[in-house]
C-alpha cells in the first residue's frame, strides 16, 4: 500500500505537478494514516512565521532582482576586466570572478547566465576565445558562487538543519566560513584551465586610466560586498540583518543614486521577485510538514539501517552520495532538493560520522554541477535559449568544465578539512 502511494506521488511529480502540492499531499496522507487531525498542516505551515532567519529570503531575493535589473552587471564586468584583463585568459577569469560574486548575491541560479552572460559572451567572442570554450565557461559560471556567503541555498541548508535539531547545533555563520575554501578551489581550478587553454590569446595592457574610471563608475557598489561580508563574518550582523542592510543599500544606490530603476518599475520588480519567494516558501512550508512526518515515522533510521547493512565504510557511502546528488541535481532545482533530501540524508550522514557542515558543502557542490550535467541540467537549457545554440552543442562545450568541477567535488568530499578548517578556527 505504502509503495503504491509513493509510486503514484512520484509519478505525478515527474509528470510536472507543482512540487509543493506533491510534498503536502505526502504529508497529509502520512498524517491521515497515523490518525492525526489534518489541521496539523496549518500548524506546520505557520512555522514559516516562527523562524527569524527566513526574513533573509525575501530581502536577499529582492536585492538580487534589483541588482540584475540595474546596470550593476555592466559595471561589475568593466571593473573586473580592468583589474584582471591583462592576464592570459584574463577575460575568462573576469567571467568566473564576476559570475561567482553575482551568484553569491543573487542566489537563484539562471539569473547569472541571463544578466552577466549577455555581456560576457559577446566580449569573450570578440576577444577571440573559441565559441565552445566561451559557451562552456558562461554556462558553468552560472552556478559558480553558490558556496560563498550570502548565497540563499547555503542559508536554506542551515535553516533545514536547525529545524531538524539533530547532531550538534550548527550556525549559518559556520556554513559561510566553510564554503570559502571549497568555493575558492573551484575558482582556482577553473581559472587555471582558462589560462592554460588560452595560452596564445592576446591580452590587453593594464590601463590605469580605465581602472580608475571603472572604479569611479562603480564607486557606490564597491562597498556593498565589504559591508555585507564584513558584517556577517565579523559577527556584527545576523544573517537576516545583513539581508536588510543589503536591500536598503541596493535600493538607495540603484533607485536613487544611479536612478537606473524608475520608481514606477519597482512594483514589477517586487512582484517578480516575490513570486519566486512564494514558490520557495510554500515548498519549505510543505516540507516542514512532511519532514515532521518522516521523522515521526523514523524513516531516516530505517534508511540508515538499510544502507549500513549494505555499505560498511564511510568512503563507499560518500561515493554513492556523490553519484546520487549529481543525478538529483539534474532533476530538481536546488531549493526543492534541499528541503526534500536534507532531512533524509543528514541523519544517515551523521550515522557515518560526516559533519553536518561538511555534508552541506558536499550537497551544494554537487548541486552546482548538477545545474549543467547532461541531459537535463537547467542551466544548459537556459544557456541554449539565451545564446540560441542547440543543447547538444552545450553538452559538448561544458564537458571539460564538468570534469574539472567533478574533480573539485571529489576533493571537497574526501578532504573534510578543506571545509571544516576555517569554521574550526572560530
Amino acid at each position: 500500500m505504502t509503495i503504491v502511494i509513493v509510486l503514484l506521488l512520484l509519478a505525478i511529480a515527474l509528470l510536472g505537478a507543482p512540487l509543493f502540492a506533491v510534498i503536502a499531499a505526502s504529508a497529509m496522507i502520512g498524517f491521515y494514516r497515523e490518525e492525526l487531525d489534518l489541521s496539523i498542516m496549518a500548524i506546520e505551515f505557520y512555522r514559516l512565521a516562527e523562524m527569524p532567519i527566513l526574513l533573509a529570503i525575501p530581502l536577499f531575493t529582492f536585492a538580487g532582482y534589483l541588482l540584475s535589473e540595474s546596470r550593476a552587471p555592466t559595471r561589475l564586468v568593466r571593473i573586473t576586466q580592468a583589474l584582471l584583463g591583462w592576464m592570459h585568459g584574463g577575460l575568462a577569469i573576469v567571467a568566473l570572478a564576476a559570475c561567482a560574486l553575482f551568484t553569491a548575491f543573487t542566489g537563484a541560479s539562471g539569473v547569472t547566465i541571463i544578466a552577466l552572460g549577455a555581456l560576457l559572451y559577446p566580449a569573450l567572442m570578440k576577444a577571440g576565445y573559441k565559441e565552445n570554450f566561451s559557451l562552456g565557461l558562461i554556462t558553468t559560471s552560472g552556478s559558480l558562487g553558490l558556496l560563498f556567503a550570502p548565497s540563499l541555498p547555503l542559508i536554506l541548508y542551515g535553516i533545514i538543519v536547525q529545524q531538524l535539531g539533530i547532531g550538534l547545533p550548527l550556525s549559518i555563520d559556520e556554513l559561510f566560513l566553510a564554503g570559502i575554501l571549497p568555493g575558492l578551489l573551484m575558482l582556482i581550478v577553473l581559472s587555471g584551465w582558462s589560462i592554460w587553454s588560452n595560452r596564445v590569446q592576446h591580452t590587453q595592457a593594464f590601463d590605469w586610466g580605465e581602472t580608475k574610471a571603472a572604479l569611479r563608475e562603480a564607486a557606490w557598489e564597491i562597498p556593498l560586498p565589504f559591508i555585507v561580508l564584513g558584517g556577517i563574518y565579523s559577527g556584527y550582523f545576523a544573517v537576516s540583518e545583513a539581508a536588510a542592510v543589503t536591500v536598503i543599500y541596493v535600493l538607495i544606490v540603484e533607485v536613487f543614486i544611479y536612478r537606473e530603476i524608475p520608481l514606477v518599475q519597482l512594483p514589477r520588480v517586487i512582484r517578480e521577485s516575490m513570486v519566486l519567494v512564494g514558490a520557495i516558501l510554500v515548498i519549505l512550508g510543505a516540507s516542514l510538514a512532511s519532514t515532521n512526518y518522516v521523522i515521526d515515522a523514523q524513516i531516516p533510521t530505517q534508511l540508515f539501517d538499510f544502507i549500513s547493512a549494505h555499505i560498511s565504510d564511510k568512503y563507499t557511502f560518500l561515493i554513492l552520495l556523490n553519484i546520487f546528488l549529481l543525478f538529483l541535481g539534474t532533476m530538481l532545482d536546488i531549493f526543492s532538493a534541499l528541503v526534500l533530501m536534507v532531512p533524509l540524508l543528514l541523519p544517515v550522514a551523521i550515522g557515518y560520522g560526516i559533519d553536518p557542515v561538511h555534508l552541506g558543502i558536499i550537497f551544494l557542490a554537487n548541486m552546482q554541477i548538477g545545474y549543467f550535467t547532461p541531459p537535463v541540467g537547467m542551466n544548459l537549457f537556459i544557456a541554449s535559449f539565451r545564446f540560441n545554440r542547440p543543447v547538444s552543442q552545450l553538452y559538448r562545450s561544458t564537458l571539460p568544465f564538468f570534469f574539472l568541477l567533478f574533480f573539485c567535488v571529489l576533493i571537497i568530499t574526501y578532504w573534510p578539512s578543506l571545509s571544516l578548517w576555517l569554521p574550526g578556527r572560530m
Binding site: 511529480a13 505537478a17 509543493f20 503536502a24 498542516m41 496549518a42 527569524p52 529570503i57 517586487i270
Partner: protein, 157 residues
C-alpha cells in the same frame, strides 16, 4: 472580466509593495535601534516574521495564477502536445484537490485559534496572522482549477 482581473492585479501589487516596504522599514529600524540605542521595538520581530509568511503566501498565490510554481519538468518534454495538455490538466486537478484540503483544514485551525483567543502581540489576536493560510490556499485552489480548465502549462518556468 478583464477589468476585474486588472483591479485584482493592482490590489496584489499594492499589497506586495506595502508588505515589502513595511518589512524593509521595520527590519531597518530594528537594526538602527539596536546599534544606536541598544533597544528595539518589542512587537517588531514577531510582526516581521508574520510578514514573511504573508508575503510568501501572496507570492505563492501569484505564482499559481502565472503557473510559475517549481516543478520537475522532466517527462513533459518528451510528451506529444495532446498528452502534455492532458498531463497539465491532471497536475492542476491534483493541485486543486491538495490546495482545497489545505484551505479547509487550515480554516478549521484558524477557527480553533479564534475560539482559544490567543494573541500574537499586545491585543492583536493570533488568528489574524494565521488567516492568510486558508485564504491563500483557497485562492490557489481557485487558480489551479482555472488552469485545469485551460489545460497546458505556460512555457518557461
Amino acid at each position: 472580466m478583464r477589468r476585474l482581473l486588472n483591479s485584482v492585479r493592482y490590489i496584489e501589487n499594492g499589497l506586495l509593495v506595502l508588505i515589502l516596504i513595511a518589512m524593509i522599514g521595520l527590519a531597518g529600524s530594528q537594526i538602527m535601534l539596536r546599534n544606536l540605542f541598544d533597544s528595539g521595538i518589542g512587537w517588531g520581530d514577531p510582526i516581521l516574521r508574520v510578514l514573511v509568511l504573508w508575503i510568501g503566501m501572496l507570492g505563492a498565490m501569484i505564482a499559481t495564477q502565472q503557473d510559475k510554481h517549481i516543478r520537475i519538468d522532466l517527462l513533459s518534454r518528451y510528451l506529444s502536445p495532446t498528452w502534455r495538455d492532458r498531463a497539465a490538466r491532471l497536475n492542476n486537478l491534483f493541485a486543486t484537490v491538495v490546495c482545497s484540503l489545505l484551505a479547509w483544514h487550515s480554516g478549521r485551525f484558524v477557527y480553533f485559534e479564534w475560539q482559544d483567543g490567543n494573541t500574537l502581540v499586545n491585543n492583536i489576536p493570533i488568528w489574524v496572522a494565521e488567516f492568510v493560510l486558508p485564504f491563500g490556499f483557497a485562492v490557489m485552489a481557485l487558480h489551479f482549477a482555472l488552469l485545469m480548465l485551460q489545460g497546458k502549462h505556460e512555457e518557461g518556468t
